[in-house]
């Protein structure tokens, strides 16, 4: 199954990621027209005193290393573990998520939508690529793709099958099109066989895709393999 969240940068600013390989690879090719264009614009803006390169570095470091789907996984694991927290998440998700110190840009108005035996939730932004940055980080390419944006609302089950997710016929698919500044986080169902697991262990089962609705959480067996 497609999932990368376990390989992403964690919320603690370190991890066994392979981010650096991308840069090494990049340097073997001549820069693309887009790379040259961005470089030229950055040079111009720095020379005109319109941007501070250190501000750019701070922004990049935030989204490359600090903010990512491990944040959302912690929210989900706490909701699975603590009924009082789940209730606060239902009442005011923005405030409940801020309890874990996740907040800010593109997460100003959070709503959590819960999967259950009857309903599966799926989040998209058909008009651009709105995404809850503080809990999931920046969106992956497929989320921003024309294919996902066009298909998620009209053919959600076809989209899910490309992710290897087949739902029972009688389960309803509820798609959320993020057309305003409200950002939706899917609360997946807690997998079977996880009784007695700690919050930390549970968080390892929560994939990025399971919080968008294009995946399901890992079983304890899948997490071990």
């Amino acid at each position: 199954m497609h999932d990368e969240s376990k390989h992403e940068h964690g919320s603690h600013g370190h991890g066994d990621h392979d981010h650096g390989h991308d840069h090494d690879h990049e340097h073997q090719h001549p820069p693309s027209p887009a790379a040259l264009r961005v470089k030229a614009i950055e040079t111009l803006l720095v020379e005109k005193g319109l941007v501070d390169p250190q501000a750019l570095d701070a922004i990049i470091e935030t989204y490359a290393e600090k903010v990512g789907p491990r944040n959302g996984a912690r929210v989900v694991a706490r909701a699975w573990s603590d009924p009082a927290y789940l209730e606060r998440l239902r009442q005011d998700a923005t405030a409940a998520i801020a309890e874990l110190d996740f907040q800010g840009r593109q997460g100003e108005h959070m709503v959590v939508v819960e999967n259950d035996a009857r309903t599966h939730n799926l989040v998209v932004c058909t008009l651009c690529s709105c995404y809850p940055w503080p809990v999931l980080g920046l969106p992956p390419v497929w989320y921003k793709s024309d294919a996902y944006r066009s298909r998620a609302v009209i053919d959600p089950r076809g989209v899910l099958s490309e992710f290897g997710v087949e739902l029972p016929e009688d389960k309803a698919v509820q798609v959320w099109d993020s057309t305003a500044e409200v950002r939706y986080l899917v609360l997946p169902e807690r997998p079977a066989g996880t009784e007695g697991m700690s919050e930390e262990e549970l968080a390892d089962l929560v994939t990025r895709d399971s919080m968008i609705g294009t995946g399901l959480p890992l079983s304890p067996e899948e997490a071990r393999s």
Binding site: E4, K48, A55, G107, H109, L127, S150, A152, V173
Partner: protein, 219 residues
Amino acid sequence: MNGVHDMGGMHGFGALPLEENEPVFHGEWEERALALTLAMAAWGKWNIDASRHAREKLPPADYLRYSYYERWIEALANMMVEHGLVSAEELRQGQPAAGSSKAQPPLDATKALAALRRGGPADRAVDQAPRFAIGQSVRAINHHPAGHTRLPRYARGKRGEIVMHHGAHVFADSNAHFLGEAPQHLYAVRFSARELWGPQGRPQDCVTLDLWEPHLEAA
């Protein structure tokens, strides 16, 4: 605007571009494009709705050809020229016009991090009571403005049900054109897949959109 950005329900874009172990950025230029766009917003010459509209206004063939961050950087270039932060000539030359003075950036690293953490809440206090209640049946208006709207084509004229009231939020359709925040009550409105897509929609499936009061009429 009835642009190619309004993609919900379109056909022909093919399979999803899934990538195993996808990195956050595909190359350093994507990082810089993101950071430049966020940092330049601090000049306060535009707002998030105007930014989205700037991307929608890219020529349709370019929009479809560009990757996500190319859309961002080209829209940023257009906005900077439109709002006088740089000239078209400076962009072409890649250097400041002779004799131009050097500005002081509004954000250093500390202020940039504070701005990300603060975000930009869109909720506003308004005097008017909400016109619609949860459970009420509504119809999305059938409108085709040439400017920015967050009511996608696929929902226009369709009947749905109010399922959440989010309070009053900045009205993107107004704010994108610098016509004021004009806050309006914002609702999550649920449409059945059958209502949106006809017989091919599954009876139990639905799509929920966030729509502002001016997008809705009682039904």
